[in-house]
């Protein structure tokens, strides 16, 4: 049985599970059945994908007599698909494990259980599809399944709006992808990916298709300015689904972009990297600044996904640039950096959403201003969440640092590009990347500090209880993986080599042969990094310092009320809140990124009414891009409304006119 057939049977099993979920949704048996089954199938598919990736996927083709009659439904698993299948099924397995425990607190299981396996199956199908029809069909089912999951709690405030905006943006993205594929397929209708690879579209057509793919896949991934739906929809879903949407589904979108830009659209034009780099840098910076301003934990994480997508796109853009200007080995470095960040982000973002979900189910709160001090009652959750925070802030020795380090190494080679635009763009992108990485650390100091540290701000936060073992197992596994990738990055870079080789025709030098498991992207004298040694160094020096102190210094320890410079305040409301923590950064960046208005109403002396402080923030992109668009659509629909009230005669006239116009267009088509 070929790999493709095995993957398809896995998907079929997941779909069967979806049916079972629909039938047994309300029964107590439903949850273990669906999540247990999804866990087993995802784990099996994960193993299969790993075997394919490490064994050098051949990419045989499987054609089923479905779909478009003259093409059939084609499936193929090559190295690129195999890598993303690893990402999807690893995330899927962890989310299922998490769901086994977390799902107990679900209020409406019948709205989650049927769609969860369907969502997993459709993401898997997107990755194995080898013709445009199957790809788009799976892509749409992925959107619909995730939409259904977003709407699981549809009676809560804002969720209906989140679902509506999501549906609109998803259809828009699919439309752009549909047009991209139509351009690449050409008039002959070669919708099979094989035909597109063989065809040589003219530079204009290829460029147009590339831009449409950037928009279409980008709207799903959440690039600025198409990100507006993401921070609404991702937090609205149940937490393990949020983890899947943020950690995994955005990666499927990246897969769509890589597949089209590096493979199907033919040789890249010189300017292709420019929009990708610009959008990537803007996405990274705006994403993290918006994230910093949030006080809803899950929304903060969703906005932060936008930032990481930006970092991934910067890697992809650099790879395109280096490939076009004849530096394939550096292109391999940049693409490896981007893809490694895909993997890393799927790990730590899922982990962080799991943690947020655990806090949510323990306290019923997502608002950081109502949390605080949770670390005392949920030490293990806090530990796992802390690992995720350190990893996503790109701090060594964890995994986020490795991929950002590789991206910086690629940027440092960009002066050798023979294009002035890119020469000036690359250092600017590098500076913005550095800025967003530093802001990310501030953002997660805030997220962890406000949620887990300090004094509890509400009774709900005070009475939190540690979550169940399965939930913890899912979180701690991913925390361990974050450290593993950070400490042995060479192994993961080598595993990516066939993927990168297929895309840009070169690979990074083998890392597993370098002494002491260092990684050296170009040459060791140029730059090298050794996660293992840095990790050991930190552990040894900390242990050394601690043992020295405990040997020679006083071991006495006294618990006492906080000193606070002599003016302790018993009310936890006097602590720094999520807003006040971000206030200095808001003052510096606020005027640029969003219209931040602070209004202070201080009563004059003698008056007894309380002082007030009002803060309004708005997403400037929403105001500038979307609000006019909404107005336009409303006006247009008002005009078109008249079409509903015509007489039969007028309707026939309209039909006749449309028919004649279409025939004329067809007749005059060259």
């Amino acid at each position: 049985m070929s790999a493709e057939a095995l993957f398809l049977s896995g998907d079929a099993a997941l779909l069967a599970l979806a049916v079972a979920g629909a039938l047994a949704g309300r029964r107590p048996l439903g949850r273990p059945l669906v999540y247990g089954g999804a866990l087993a199938i995802s784990a099996a598919l994960l193993l299969l994908a790993l075997v394919e990736l490490l064994g050098g996927a051949k990419g045989g083709a499987l054609v089923l007599p479905l779909g478009l009659p003259w093409i059939g439904a084609r499936f193929r698993v090559d190295a690129l698909s195999a890598f993303f299948l690893v990402v999807v099924n690893l995330g899927g397995a962890a989310a299922s494990l998490y769901g086994l425990g977390y799902g107990r607190t679900e209020r409406a299981p019948e709205r989650v259980l049927p769609f969860f396996p369907a969502f997993l199956a459709s993401m898997n199908l997107v990755l194995v599809a080898d013709d445009a029809y199957t790809f788009l069909l799976s892509w749409e089912s992925m959107s619909l399944a995730s939409w259904a999951l977003v709407m699981a709690h549809h009676r809560e405030d804002d969720n209906a709006r989140a679902g509506y905006v999501y549906l609109l943006m998803a259809s828009f993205g699919t439309l752009a992808l549909l047009l991209a594929f139509a351009l690449l397929a050409g008039p002959a209708g070669g919708y099979a990916f094989d035909a597109m690879r063989a065809a040589a579209p003219s530079p204009g057509v290829a460029g147009l298709a590339f831009m449409l793919a950037l928009i279409g896949a980008g709207s799903k991934a959440g690039i600025v300015p198409l990100h507006v739906w993401l921070p609404l929809a991702h937090p609205a879903a149940p937490s393990h689904v949020s983890a899947l949407m943020s950690g995994v589904m955005t990666k499927v979108a990246v897969y769509g972009f890589v597949r089209i830009a590096f493979e199907l659209a033919g040789p890249a034009g010189w300017w292709w990297s420019v929009p990708v780099l610009t959008v990537g840098a803007a996405t990274a910076l705006l994403g993290v600044i918006y994230a910093l301003m949030q006080h809803d934990l899950k929304r903060l994480l969703a906005y932060h996904t936008v930032e990481n997508i930006g970092i991934i796109y910067i890697g992809l853009g650099l790879a395109l640039a280096f490939e076009v200007f004849g530096m394939p080995s550096v292109a391999a470095l940049a693409l490896t950096a981007g893809l490694l960040h895909v993997f890393n982000h799927s790990l730590f973002k899922s982990l962080l959403f799991f943690g947020a979900g655990a806090v949510l189910s323990a306290t019923g709160e997502r608002d950081m201003d109502h949390l605080g001090g949770v670390i005392h009652n949920m030490p293990l959750t806090a530990f796992a969440f802390l690992v995720g925070c350190v990893a996503i802030s790109a701090l060594p020795p964890f995994n986020g640092f490795v991929s950002e380090w590789l991206t910086f190494q690629a940027i440092l080679l960009s002066p050798y590009l023979s294009s002035w635009v890119l020469k000036i763009l690359a250092p600017a992108v590098g500076a913005l990347l550095a800025l967003s990485a530093a802001l990310a650390a501030a953002c997660f100091a805030k997220a962890f500090g406000m949620t887990f540290l300090g004094r509890p701000r509400t009774n709900a936060a005070k009475s939190a209880r540690e979550t169940d073992r399965l939930t913890l197992a899912a979180m701690l596994t991913f925390a361990a993986l974050c450290l593993l990738v950070g400490v042995f990055p060479g192994l993961f870079i080598d595993a990516l080599a066939p993927v990168v080789f297929n895309a840009v025709g070169a690979r990074m030098p083998g890392q597993s042969t370098i002494a002491w498991l260092s990684i050296a992207p170009i040459a060791q004298s140029r730059s090298s990094y050794n996660g293992l040694l840095v990790f050991l160094f930190i552990v040894i020096s900390a242990t050394l310092a601690a043992s020295f102190i405990h040997r020679f210094a006083s071991a006495a320890l006294r618990r006492a009320p906080a000193w606070d410079c002599g003016f302790p305040d018993p009310s936890p409301a006097t602590q720094y809140s999520a807003e006040s923590f971000a206030q200095p950064i808001r003052r510096v960046f606020g005027a640029v990124a969003f219209v931040a208005r602070e209004r202070i109403d201080m009563p004059p002396p003698g008056e007894t009414r309380p002082a007030r402080f009002d803060l309004t923030l708005s997403d400037r992109i929403w105001d500038v891009v979307y609000q006019p668009l909404v107005g336009l659509v409303e006006r247009a629909s008002l005009r078109l409304n008249r079409l509903q009230f015509l007489t039969i005669r007028q309707y026939l006239g309209v039909v006749f006119g449309a028919l004649v116009t279409l025939l004329v267009v067809l007749a005059s088509w060259p």
Binding site: S418, L453, R526, V539, A545
Partner: protein, 319 residues
């Protein structure tokens, strides 16, 4: 055998930076005192302070979590590892290639991250104030540092500090505008990162503008000693970094003999002391800034560093 000798030199470097750290801080304090016509504390007072703090019992707030007691050691370890990777008396030590300049910056970022968390842990307004301001300064200083690295890496063709220093020692560097900009930017970042005047005042408590001192307000006893030592180490690290890149004279290059390394150590100590005195003079001659002027100050470093890097990016084809 060679491995053991290399290991010994690496360990020597790690001890050296720790041993001189309080001395450098003491020197800065003495310089500032003398310039303001005070007698000031003795030069070795920081050592005594550390010992005194270590002997006292540690008072930990009721609301502190397990993280609070781990943070001092984590901060110290990250700073120490970073300091051990900056060339002081010799380049090309055994582990110098295990992390490049970007990784060193990230290690310092990790130390800052945990310190900010410790500031939030107790749940007092002073701690939060310190953490949130530190987050802002860090968010501006770190990218400035990265663009400085861009400049150095383009001049020397490497982000590896040993290679950069070797390149700077060799005579074919010459005067470059970009390097001048990088130097100014690096000094600004060093002032900001170490909480020196004009960004923060290391000598105050109970002042609304304090940043670093506000974060560690609740620490006492041995925990405070470890954090203080880490702060001193960080100062040594930044002075060493400026010395080894912009004044590398006398440093022993990779395969130099023991005599050269000894010479390098003396040269290093001399330069470190000069650096300490210069910092003291600078701090005395300038006034502290308002907090919200600091972003402009550090932002200037970011822009200078970026201009320097941009010049190099663009001039690469003209050569």
């Amino acid at each position: 055998m060679a491995l053991i000798v290399d290991l010994i030199f690496q360990l020597l470097q790690m001890t050296l930076v720790i041993a001189v750290a309080p001395l450098l801080t003491g020197l800065v304090r003495v310089t500032k005192a003398r310039l303001t016509r005070r007698r000031g504390p003795p030069l070795l007072q920081p050592y005594r302070d550390l010992v005194r703090l270590a002997r006292k019992e540690a008072v930990v707030a009721d609301t502190a979590s397990w993280l609070y007691r781990f943070v001092p050691y984590l901060v110290f370890a990250a700073t120490w590892v970073a300091a051990a990777l900056v060339p002081t008396f010799a380049t090309g030590l055994l582990f110098s290639w295990s992390a490049d300049l970007i990784a060193i910056i990230a290690l310092l970022g990790a130390a800052r991250f945990f310190l900010a968390l410790a500031g939030l842990d107790i749940g007092t307004s002073f701690g939060g104030l310190g953490s949130s301001r530190e987050a802002l300064f860090g968010a501006l200083a770190e990218p400035a540092m990265i663009v400085i690295v861009f400049t150095l890496a383009l001049v020397a063709g490497s982000t590896q500090l040993s290679t950069v220093v070797a390149h700077m020692v060799s005579s074919n560097v010459g005067l470059r505008v970009s390097l001048g900009m990088a130097l100014v930017a690096l000094i600004i970042v060093a002032l900001a990162e170490n909480g020196r005047i004009p960004v923060d005042n290391p000598a105050t408590h109970l002042e609304l503008t304090m940043v670093h001192e506000a974060m560690i307000l609740e620490y006492s006893g041995r925990h405070l000693a470890v954090i203080e030592l880490a702060a001193m180490l960080k100062l040594v690290l930044y002075v060493s970094l400026i010395i080894c890149v912009f004044a590398p004279w006398g440093i022993a290059i990779a395969d130099a003999g023991v005599a050269d390394r000894l010479l390098g150590a003396f040269a290093y100590l001399a330069k470190l002391m000069i650096g300490g005195v210069a910092l003291g003079v600078f701090e005395t001659s300038i006034a502290k800034m308002r907090v919200f002027r600091v972003p402009d100050f550090v932002g200037a470093a970011l822009m200078l560093g970026f201009l320097g890097a941009l010049l190099l990016f663009v001039s690469r084809t003209l050569k």
